[in-house]
Structure formats: structure tokens, C-alpha cells
């Protein structure tokens, strides 16, 4: 089963613009992670935010977490064509080691 719902399912923007993707989940978590997947390849970890954190930055990535609303957002600033990929949120539930993934957002950056 998949916990997360991601919004939008697909996003197309111009190079240089910012891209924002949202993720909602249902259960109590101890962390939330974002992964990226290029077409036909495995997933690559981008960033992890713990349940007691509200915001985290890594390079051009900014992640927020609102545990009261059970939601997270991923912002990619100054997008590049190479950012074109699918982005997935994944939640680590309390007491469990596995990650539960959302359906993903397909991001297309137009040059």
C-alpha cells in the first residue's frame, strides 16, 4: 500500500523557475524523505527531515514538514533541465524500518 499522495502528479515549468511539489500522508511518522528517479533508473535520496524539524535546506532544495497537517513540500529553486525527473516522498513510520512511498510528481523543466 502507498501512504503518500503527491500533488501535482505532473508539473512542467521553464528553466530558471522554482518548482514546488507537495506530499500528504496519513500515519504518525518519525521522518520524511524525498527521492528522485530519472526515467528507467533507480531512486536517489535527496533529503531527510525528521518529525521534530520544520524546515531543511540542501543546496537548491528546501523541504518543509507540517506534522499537524501531515504534509510536506519540496521546493527546487532556479530549476535546470537536468532536474527533469520524477520526485517521490517517502515516510518512515514510527516503529518501522521500511519507507512508504507516494505516487510521485513528474517534473519537466523546459529549456
Amino acid at each position: 500500500s502507498q501512504q503518500g499522495e503527491e500533488d501535482p502528479q505532473a508539473l512542467s515549468i521553464q528553466e530558471g523557475e522554482n518548482a514546488t511539489m507537495n506530499c500528504s500522508y496519513k500515519t504518525s511518522i518519525n521522518n520524511l524523505q524525498w527521492y528522485r528517479q530519472n526515467s528507467g533508473r533507480g531512486l536517489v535520496h535527496l533529503i531527510l527531515i525528521r518529525s521534530n524539524e520544520r524546515e531543511k535546506h540542501s543546496g537548491r532544495l528546501r523541504v518543509t514538514l507540517d506534522t499537524s497537517k501531515k504534509s510536506s513540500s519540496l521546493l527546487i529553486t532556479a530549476s535546470r533541465a537536468a532536474d527533469t525527473a520524477s520526485y517521490f516522498c517517502a515516510t518512515g513510520e514510527q516503529g518501522a524500518q521500511k519507507l512508504v512511498f507516494g505516487q510521485g510528481t513528474r517534473l519537466t523543466i523546459n529549456p
Binding site: 533507480g42 525528521r50 510521485g104
Partner: protein
């Protein structure tokens, strides 16, 4: 190895046949995970190993699916009497055991097509 290795990268089989998919995790990673990903969907959890034992197999869809990790390193996912609905990319990942902060490293996947 430097990364998670999965073989074969592609497997085409006929309905009813038996299939084995292999995963070689990062050396030293105690945790190993199998996921299944259908086209346009997110990865769906199948099973998680901690060492040699299956700590969580709640995602295995039915008894046709089985996975082993006999020496705590390489794992094999076994699918009996394959059905067309089993067609998907099977992803393996490994991680260190870090409660609340387990970051998964994924392999490139094994694409299974059941005709």
C-alpha cells in the same frame, strides 16, 4: 561493492514460469528491502530484511512470492507461477540500521515482463 547491484536488468518470461531476481547490497548494510514499481506509480513495499531474517514481509502480495537472504548479504526474490500482473520493475535497496533516519540506496532495478 560501490552500489546496489541487481541482476538481471531485464527478464522476459512466460506465464506460469518461475523467476529469481538477485540483489547484491552495499557491503556493510544490514538492512535490505525489496520494492515493486509499476509504470507511473511509486515503489510498493514488499519485504524488509534485517541481517538474515525477514523482519517485515507484510508487502508480499501472496504465497507465490518469497525472498531469502541466507548469509545476510545477497538476497534473492523468488516468484512462482508468474502471472501477467507480476510485470513490473523490482527494486532492491539497502541501508544501515538507523532508527528514524534510515536512508535507502537503490539499485537500478530488474524489469520483469510476463507474457
Amino acid at each position: 561493492g560501490a552500489g546496489v547491484s541487481q541482476t538481471p536488468s531485464n527478464k522476459v518470461t512466460e506465464k506460469g514460469k518461475y523467476v529469481e531476481l538477485r540483489c547484491d547490497p552495499i557491503s556493510g548494510h544490514t538492512a535490505l528491502y525489496w520494492y515493486r514499481q509499476s509504470l507511473g506509480q511509486g515503489p510498493e513495499f514488499l519485504i524488509y530484511f534485517q541481517g538474515t531474517g525477514a523482519a517485515d514481509d507484510s508487502g508480499l502480495p501472496n504465497d507465490r512470492f518469497f525472498a531469502v537472504r541466507p548469509e545476510g548479504s545477497v538476497s534473492t526474490l523468488k516468484i512462482q507461477r508468474t502471472e501477467r500482473g507480476d510485470s513490473a520493475v523490482y527494486l532492491c535497496a539497502s541501508s544501515l540500521i538507523r532508527p528514524g533516519a534510515n536512508v535507502l540506496t537503490f539499485g537500478a532495478g530488474s524489469r520483469l515482463t510476463v507474457l
